[in-house]
Amino acid sequence: MNPSNGKGSVSTSSRVSWKSNEAPVADKFPVGLRVMVVDDDPTCLMILEKMLRTCKYEVKRCSRAEEALSILRGNSNGYDIVISDVHMPDMDGFKLLEHVGLEMDLPVIMMSADDSKSVVMKGVTHGACDYLIKPVRIEALKNIWQHVVRKRKNEWKEVDQQSGSADDGQQPKYSEDGDYSSSVNEGNWRNSKRRKDEDEDGEDRDDTSTLKKPRVVWSVELHQQFVGAVNQLGIDKAVPKKILELMNVPGLTRENVASHLQKYRLYLRRLSGVSPHQNNLGNSFMNPQDPGYGPLSTLNGIDLQTLAATGQLPAQSLATLQAAGLGRAVVAAKSRIPIPVVDQRNLFSFENPKLSFGDTQQPPQHLNNGGKQINMLHGIPTNMQPKQLVNLQHQGNSLPTVQNVQSVQSGSLLMQMTDQPPLRGQQPMGNYNSISQSSPMMNLSSSYPLPNIQAKSGFPEDLTSEMKGSTPGFMPSYDIFNELNHQQKSHDWELQNVGLTFNATQQANNSIDVLGTSIVASHHSGFSSSSQGSGLTRNASTVHANNNNNAISVGQHRMNINNFYPDNNPVRVKLEPPLFPEQFGQDDLMSALLRQQQGQGGIEPLENDFDFDGYSIDNIPV
């Protein structure tokens, strides 16, 4: 999807571009701010619209929440901020607030004639960035742009942290750019967590400790823990009390866990029914997740990542899945990537009723084994910012992932992961449905025992030899990868890739699956270029089908990859090419591989629910 809506499409291009493109528009800010106002009272709606127009904003009014949601979903980058009434006949304003926050990560202002403390508090806890008492004065509306800027600012920060690249640093805030939409979008995912953070006074990953309000902020780490606990217990047997015990997080209450669990279940369900969501990769989901999931990704991660990349998976979900699946193995880089705390809501926001995913995908085997088809992707259409995708790619340049990515897109993959081995073979490039198609692939992948990954020890050699044979430059890549690994960029991806690659080599599949890192999926375009830089050959692990890296350097891998991806561009998440230098593609893999060898923890086969097998596996065509 294209985050930028026309306004300045900067978002997609890259962070760097922010500045350059939108300079002129910056002066006019907040003129042109795109507001969506929802209120069932036509009188109020008329007045609000007029007021907003007087403030020189662009206004879209809806009298029904459902209508507003569908518009927002259909045009995720089309709006900068949402103003909604609390009491509406078709849907509670707070529910709308949650959906918007989770899915689109837009700032939402609540309003009501009711000024009782409890209602206002409810707004706060649900993540509203402001609460206006009716009748609303125009003065109050004049300043709503601050919420947009604040959000973007946070997004930038996140981006900076995540990418660790200089680019991000350039744009501390979006306000300069007229491209509101893009900024909102870009940061959407990343920011969704941030938004909650803002409300909660600080983005913190470890929310429990900083919990100031009743609402717990489910940071990525926390969510990972949660998912891990759930997986340990078994999704069906996971009860809040036990999960709480397993998680052992001070300050977390059983109620917190219970509500989170509920959402999680819904999320999973939704994922299983993921509908084709092509290339939603753009989303940062993957990235955020990665941090801790590096190794995870290999197994489940790959799919997850892909999914995340496509933006379909909420970052958290991805993380969760991965975490669950891999049990956080390998992830040396686990916490490297600063993933904004993903608000729980975000994770499960995909509950959106409109998700069609649910029905579309029922991947025969893997995907929905758990029967929890969750259309994750659906929920997160454009949230994933390209940047994030890039992250993904870096990590997983492996092509195999591409396939996974596809599946990821469907979201169902993710789900699969949670419940069972992800669709490895899924190729759903963004089509959830495709997952079913890829089933065959999946089978293949399934056959790739995760253990392969573990067999790292054996692998490296294989890889090396393979690599060496095919790509002279292989060896060095390890070093590079290592270095890269240390980078903050999608660390996780790297790990993931590593895991995958191992498998691949072992399997002699060259099947790109190894690279499985779904990241690849999203970024084929991006990586290609990058691959070249680093002696792509190595990336064999990252098998980016598209990337030169595929060179899987080993040549053989390359072949496989290509085979796998008939179109060569499997779901490639569209990462902004400029965002991530080539190093990621291959280096990450290499480092991951190397790390694995070093006993990082190896990418454990995802025995658990998430059995993703890493991306690579999926890619392996039967």
Partner: protein, 151 residues
């Protein structure tokens, strides 16, 4: 009558509406400020919309009051909407009666609700008449000189 005179009449009437508590001057002024060349009769349009839309609310409330037993939650919900709508146009007295109604509603006092609702309707109708007159005058007077009101 000359233009100025017309405008003065309009201003006077408006002031009396404020003084008598029919209209909340802050809110009403806000609406007037929104009036511009693109929407020269904005306030009148809003008020018209209000009366049209609230008519169905009034009807719903009446029906709910006739039921037995009375569903107070529903009543409260309707009244909340009605009150919000009324406050948006600055209908002060109507809003006050609505608040009183809600008190009775929350207390589960059906009798109190019915009585209060009669008051609500009374004020609602009275305001309508006044505003109709007011808008007639305003139309006759012609567009107000925007300069006189600082934005």
């Amino acid at each position: 009558m000359d233009r100025n005179q017309s405008h003065r009449q309009v201003a006077t009437m408006k002031q009396s509406l404020f003084d008598q508590g029919y209209l909340d001057h802050e809110q009403f002024n806000q609406l007037e400020e929104l009036q511009d060349d693109a929407n020269p009769n904005f306030v009148e349009e809003v008020v018209t919309l209000y009366y049209r839309d609230s008519a169905r609310l009034v009807h719903s409330i009446e029906q709910a009051l006739e039921k037995s037993p009375i569903d107070f939650n529903k009543l409260d919900s309707y009244m909340h909407q009605f009150r919000g709508s009324s406050s948006s146009i600055g209908a002060k007295k109507v809003k006050a009666e609505c608040s009183l109604f809600r008190e009775y509603c929350r207390a589960g006092n059906g009798e109190g609700c019915m009585r209060t609702f009669q008051q609500v309707k009374k004020e609602y109708a009275a305001l309508r008449k006044k505003l109709e007159t007011f808008f007639q005058l305003a139309r006759q007077a012609g567009p107000v000189d925007r300069a006189r009101r600082p934005k």
